[in-house]
Symmetry: C2
Subunit: 194 residues, 2 copies
DNA sequence: AGAGAAATGCCACGAACGCGGTATAGTGAA
DNA sequence: TTCACTATACCGCGTTCGTGGCATTTCTCT
């Protein structure tokens, strides 16, 4: 791959390493690359951690993942850690060169299948459904409960009697099929209510 | 755009509408398209709602957004609603044709800038790695609390004394800087602990 | 060997909660 | 005009929680 890059007009592969541990010390110097091509199935430090370390040292350096792993978890974590692209090892070298150009142009190179996975994650992320028939008032009160207030504090905030809040809370519990505050709060996050 | 599509080998644009409201009735029939090219800045029903409606009627139909809007919110919501691709209106028609082919091949066509935004969202999504120094046992107990159990129930589950759970909970509250169950549970979800 | 963290256990008290009731007023649909 | 829903308000009982304190054991790391 390094040879391929060096053979490309306007590109130079300054270093190549077998692990993040070897690469990081070199990085401390002023010789910062524009792009890092990184595998994530590495001996020692995982590539995911590597991304974070590299990004700490040089936030402007773009990290493109090039690996054989395509499971949702690895993809998700790599992107969360700050990767700017994700390619699979079955990509032909020309595609990799192309990807480097793309990421430098402000893009986000991804394999077709990875891009598909990524969009799929969004759908998973916000399946805003499951309507328990909460009234507006109940949602409002639930909101305050989620933020950690007690019944009395909620009552004060909404200029209601303590007893009213109490009743609302009872109804909320019934509708959500829970019987503790923590259960209700969990349900709110778990099912993206409110 | 319809002309362009019909001029392409193997493609046919069966319908074209000015709004989702016009398109949906036609959809009820058995004449389901493989791909819908959809704007999201529409009169009446927003394109975002449109995606959901289309997907309900025909889950296998792939929706590709083609619009001028590139703000994070619209992109995010469109993808959550089930879009399989996102193009900007400044894309040349050939790119659109290419995108249709790509989405049919199981891909997720996106403009360079959109892809970049999408990856950026992930980084936003999970940089919250605040470490409160919770011990393993504390995390375990917190987990059970999140699922809605009472102190006594947790104690039973872990074969501990009620008092032990009590102490752990006290320590957890201190470390998380909260003083209610709901506050703790919220923090867990809000900052992706555990 | 000794310090420190973690896990475990116990006590007690006031505050908050969960849940069983009941009741009134307003709104909008059947 | 009922009927159902919603928001409001009140009561009381037993349970659970939050918090103050203290003590023991078992690790790990130095």
């Amino acid at each position: 791959m390094a040879g391929m890059i060096n053979a490309t007009e306007g590109m130079r592969c300054s270093h190549a390493f077998l692990s993040c541990e070897e690469a990081l010390p070199v990085f401390s110097k002023e010789d910062l690359p524009d792009v890092i091509l990184l595998d994530i199935g590495l001996p020692g430090m995982s590539g995911i951690q590597g991304i974070e370390k590299f990004k700490e040292l040089s936030p402007s350096t773009l990290v493109v993942i090039l690996t054989v792993y395509d499971d949702n978890d690895k993809v998700f974590n790599a992107l969360c850690a700050g990767a700017s692209g994700y390619l699979l090892k079955d990509s032909p070298p020309e595609k990799v060169i192309e990807a480097i150009k793309e990421v430098l142009a402000g893009g986000a190179p991804m394999n077709m299948q990875i891009a598909h996975k990524v969009l799929g994650m969004f759908a998973q992320f916000k399946p805003k459904k499951a309507n328990y028939g909460l009234s507006e008032r109940e949602k409002e009160i639930l909101q305050y409960m989620v933020s950690g207030l007690t019944k009395q504090q909620i009552a004060d905030k909404l200029f209601l009697s303590f007893h009213t809040v109490n009743t609302h809370l009872k109804n909320i519990y019934t509708k959500l099929h829970v019987n503790t505050r923590s259960g209700a709060v969990s349900k709110v996050y778990e099912e993206h209510l409110l």
